[in-house]
């Protein structure tokens, strides 16, 4: 009776331990997945803002590789490896997000400055061009009028 009671306790503990393990792994994987996805979204936004994201993607791929290894370890029942890899993936993804956000801000500011400069140069160049053209037009008009006024009428015959 005592042996049976102890046995059932042991089985109960094992089930509880397995459930805890599974919960820890699933939570770890979910957190790591969210972190890598957030990092990708940040890199994508930086790319749209015009930043060079080659290095960021290389760092992101390290995190993604660790995450895939964690998912595979979870499937093979190697929960310790799954948790360790998921934690590593999380640690690898977080700096990518912050670097990508900085890169996005820098690229956005840089492209805004470049846009403002282009608009300013365009306005200055257009004003100079129109002024020169108008001056030439005035000169042509004056010469034309002068030629007309100085012309002597020819009487045939």
């Amino acid at each position: 009776m005592l042996v049976l009671a102890l046995g059932s306790c042991f089985v109960g503990l094992q089930v509880a331990f397995a459930q805890t393990n599974s919960t820890v792994v699933n939570n770890g994987l979910q957190t790591a997945n969210s972190a890598v996805e957030a990092a990708f979204n940040a890199v994508s936004a930086a790319e749209k803002a015009g930043a060079n994201v080659t290095n960021l993607l290389a760092q992101l791929n390290n995190a993604a590789l660790l995450l895939a290894q964690a998912e595979i370890a979870n499937r093979t029942g190697d929960y310790n490896t799954a948790v360790a890899r998921a934690d590593s993936a999380l640690l690898a993804a977080q700096p990518v997000t912050s670097s990508a956000q900085t890169a996005q801000q820098t690229a956005a500011a840089s492209s805004q400055n470049a846009f403002r400069s282009t608009i300013a140069y365009t306005i200055i160049a257009a004003v100079v061009f129109v002024t020169v053209l108008f001056t030439v037009w005035r000169w042509v008009k004056t010469r034309y009028m002068k030629n007309v006024l100085e012309a002597k009428p020819e009487v045939p015959g």
Binding site: F40, E47, L57, L60, R75, T122, W137, K141
Partner: protein, 205 residues
């Protein structure tokens, strides 16, 4: 030439000149997204499988238990921007469902192995995958693959197969499914791209 003709010439030259001078600003406005650029073709992702000699030939087909086989699997990004991919490796027998290309749904099988990676537009990712049937049995017209090893990791699969006299083979296949991360739904979605490597179990050891 009359003065009015000169005036018209000056106005035309003036307009053309102003347009030319302002063209870099117009280009910036277009690039900034104020006017969407014309589409540069249909965006798509490429999924390919190559044999052990890195060409589309000599694919492993007759598989003996305990032997190691190699294939290259690769993905190309042509979606117009960086993309985050997930590639599932699944193992099926002749009766398990393949992905449905018409409905765009993945195979209902549980994935064994997976890859996750991000690619820039125009870039390629490739990996060498090794696999072996590590635990299998053949009895008459029935076969059973209990364990499959992919890249050194063992997976319990327990897949039976019945001898198919039309092939003739104990038919199995490795299925590679491509999933793409959708930023708007914040989840991976099956990209309706898969390749299937047909296998015939010839012996158990």
């Amino acid at each position: 030439m009359k003065l009015q003709d000169f005036k018209v010439i000056f106005i035309v030259v003036g307009l053309i000149g102003v347009l030319l001078i302002a063209s870099p600003a117009f280009a910036d406005i277009i690039l900034a997204g104020a006017i969407p650029p014309p589409p540069s073709g249909e965006p798509f992702s490429e999924l390919y499988l190559l044999g052990p000699t890195h060409v589309a030939a000599s694919y492993p087909y007759n598989v003996a238990g305990g032997q190691n086989y190699l294939v290259y699997v690769g993905v190309g990004d042509h979606v117009g921007s960086s993309a985050y991919y997930m590639l599932y490796v699944k193992f099926r027998n002749g009766t398990d469902a393949l992905p449905n290309a018409t409905l765009g749904t993945p195979s209902p099988l549980v994935p064994l192995y997976e890859y996750k990676f991000a690619l820039q537009d125009g870039a390629y990712w490739e990996s060498l995958l090794s696999f072996s049937v590590t635990n299998a049995s053949i009895s008459g017209k029935q076969s059973m693959v209990s364990q499959l090893t992919i890249n050194g990791l063992r997976f319990n699969v327990d897949k039976p197969s019945v001898w198919d006299p039309s092939a003739p083979s104990f038919s199995y296949s490795l299925v590679f499914e491509l999933w793409l991360f959708n930023a708007s739904s914040n989840a991976f979605q099956y990209n309706n791209r898969y390749v299937s490597l047909l296998l015939n179990l010839t012996s158990t050891a």
